[in-house]
């Protein structure tokens, strides 16, 4: 086993990995940019090394600096977390060349699955269902028109190198195709430096379900159930759960086997996730493989009882899996909310700032993976994910009830955030019934929120609490008469405001 691991990341995932290292008796090395000297991951790791200035290109994305930090610290392995360098095959290769173990799949596996077209080709070659469309990038408008006519509109254009919704366009009819293709290619070029775009049948409001796999270097490969990730905003997941509601056991089994086939075809080792679209008739189609730990891995940890980060490290150190597929026995139900500093009322726009008050929830069935603390000013430079709130229950209703409770306990002030949005989701009967697909968020926001009969009373008492807080804080009150008069003037002016 390793003696020391460098964590090439920040935020909640760096904290999560530092904890796994401590559990395994391994020293952890944090790296940080100038914006992160006071970040939580620097406090939680055993060691900490400065990478460079705040911009990611000069710090967390800078391969030579990360490798230099690893060398300086004497780390034997690097855990990349998710994002930043996690799916960068060149980084994985550079680690190997520097004599460091990259905690993840081999550069060859990453390359084989890195482009969406390469992954589609691999899936097609191994009889894993993919959406009808082009396997390679489209070479010309004429080819696009021909294929689209064949498979039928609507179709999707997607960047081969893509992710995060960039270079993606839905095309409803032939007249839109030419301009959509030009736009998608241009967007893909500017986002990924690669204009390649492929075409596939569009599935409207599909479900997004993924399979977690774990493979060791000794030929053992297991799948650890699925995660339903359909609740998304701006093509990014915000709620994930396992098991997926309304999924037939036979479909689940077939998806697990397809995921294992894809992983086997790419000689995959370590943790990975195979993503699928599921349509309204429960047909599933391979989408892509995420060759890393997912943000939403705790959901699988809570139902399977396995510590995925510990297993990533153990696999990278050459340990074999000590359980078989038959011994993977998911129990109960888990669900995760991604707490972002963003404003749901402004299209989920990021809202950085100082965290003035932070009181996370606790109690039975509640796990919080956080990267922040009260008093921390969130830097502008990075992802607005603050924390993940995960609950577990004997069954889905209990997991949802505990999430409702946890959301009601959560106090986060100073940055706009999506807690209120989640409270609305968990109060929605449609969500409780499991009626989620990728159109869910837009549908919910289009509804008028149900009236809250207690709102007025709570607001009144909030005002009273603010007044008491102010009174308790001030050293002494001014002469009452003058104060009242001044106040009355103010009240009159307020009353006249629109």
């Amino acid at each position: 086993m390793f003696r020391k691991i460098l964590i090439a990341n920040r935020g909640e995932i760096a904290v999560r990995i530092a904890r796994a290292c401590r559990d395994l008796g391994i020293a952890s090395v944090a790296v940080y940019s100038d914006a992160d000297r006071r970040a939580l991951h620097v406090q939680m790791a055993d060691e900490a090394i400065r990478l460079g200035p705040a911009p990611a290109a000069e710090s967390y994305l800078n391969i030579p600096r990360v490798l230099a930090a690893a060398e300086r610290s004497g780390a034997e392995a690097i855990h990349p977390g998710y994002g930043f360098l996690a799916e960068n095959a060149a980084f994985a290769a550079a680690c190997r060349d520097a004599g460091l173990v990259f905690i993840g799949p081999s550069p060859a596996s990453m390359a084989a699955l890195g482009s969406k077209t390469a992954a589609r080709k691999l899936a097609a070659a191994h009889a894993i269902p993919i959406l009808p469309g082009t396997v390679e990038a489209v070479a010309s408008l004429a080819e696009a028109e021909r294929v689209a006519a064949e498979i039928g509109y609507p179709v999707m254009l997607k960047a081969a190198a893509g992710g995060g919704g960039k270079g993606m366009r839905r095309v409803a009819s032939p007249v839109e195709l030419a301009s959509a293709l030009a736009l998608a290619a241009a967007e893909a070029g500017s986002a990924f430096g690669d204009t390649a775009v492929f075409l596939e049948r569009a599935v409207d409001a599909p479900r997004h379900i993924e399979i977690q796999i774990l493979a060791d270097a000794h030929g053992h490969l297991v799948w650890l159930g699925e995660r339903e990730c359909s609740v998304q905003r701006r093509h990014q997941k915000i709620i994930e759960e396992s098991p997926a509601p309304r999924l037939a056991p036979a479909t689940r089994q077939a998806m697990g086997e397809a995921a294992c086939a894809a992983a086997r075809a790419a000689n995959y080792v370590n943790a990975g996730t195979v993503e699928f679209l599921v349509d309204e008739r429960e047909r599933f189609y391979f989408l892509e493989v995420n060759t890393r730990l997912q943000v939403e891995h705790p959901v699988t940890e809570l139902v399977t009882g396995l510590d995925l980060v510990q297993w990533q490290i153990r696999i990278a150190a050459g340990e074999p899996l000590n359980f078989t597929q038959a011994q993977v026995q998911p129990r109960g139900h888990a669900i995760e909310c991604r707490i972002y500093a963003e404003d749901p009322e402004r299209d989920f726009f990021p809202s950085p700032g100082a965290i003035l008050r932070l009181q996370p929830p606790s109690g039975p069935g509640v796990r919080e993976d956080t990267g922040v603390y009260e008093g921390w000013t969130v830097p502008l430079e990075y992802d607005p994910l603050r924390a993940k709130l995960i609950t577990w229950g004997e069954d889905r209703p209990q997991a949802l009830a505990r999430m409702r409770r946890a959301l009601s306990e959560y106090r986060l002030a100073g940055v706009r955030n999506n807690l209120g949005f989640f409270r609305r989701v968990f109060a929605d009967p449609g969500f409780a019934a499991g009626r989620t697909d990728t159109g869910y968020v837009a549908r919910l926001l289009a509804q008028t929120p149900p009236p809250d009969p207690a709102a007025e009373r709570w607001e009144t008492l909030a005002a009273a609490a603010a007044a008491v807080a102010l009174a308790a804080e001030l050293p002494a009150a001014p002469p009452p008469a003058a104060a009242a008069t001044a106040w009355q003037r103010a009240a009159r002016r307020d009353a006249m405001r629109p």
Partner: protein, 164 residues
């Protein structure tokens, strides 16, 4: 002591008087028979008709008060008479202050000082966490003040520009 607490469009008048057991409260002139306790700085407990209401409380750099309780959040403006006296009086009629809706970096200015602007016209572009957002003028007028330049980092609620 009397304070005005504005939440959303509504302003409530609260009188807070220390008493033996904590605080006596009046809401808009009517007694509010709540048992109020400051649990610790930033944490207030109110018991009213046997019901328990607990609030966290924090004031940000711009003076806004963030309150949370019962799975609900509010942003309040709290004014006590002394603050009120010291406070600059209402803005001249017809002047609109553009403030930063979130902390971020000014990426680009879209209008020059002295320029005429239309309602909804973008005045500048703010970037935070890799997303860009246009800050728009709420009214027709002239860009009278431009308090920031491209490249500046701004805090939430910081003044960006004034339109008159």
């Amino acid at each position: 002591m009397i304070v005005a607490v504005q939440i959303g469009e509504r302003t409530r008048q609260l009188e807070v008087v220390p008493s033996d057991s904590g605080w006596r409260l009046q809401l808009d002139g009517e007694p509010l028979p709540a048992d109020a306790a400051v649990i610790r700085p930033g944490l207030i407990s109110l018991l009213l008709d046997g019901q328990s209401f607990t609030f966290t409380w924090a004031r940000d750099g711009q003076g806004a008060v963030w309150l949370s309780g019962g799975g609900r959040d509010w942003q309040a403006e709290v004014r006590d008479p002394r603050q009120l006296q010291a406070r600059r009086h209402a803005e001249p009629e017809g002047r609109a202050r553009l403030t930063a809706p979130m902390a971020g970096k000014v990426v680009k200015l879209l209008a020059e000082l002295g320029a005429a602007v239309e309602p909804g016209q973008g005045v500048l572009v703010l970037e935070a966490m890799k997303m860009q957002n246009e800050v728009r003028s709420p009214k027709r007028g002239t860009l009278k003040t431009l308090a920031v330049a491209a490249g500046d980092t701004v805090a939430t609620h910081q003044l960006l520009a004034e339109i008159e």
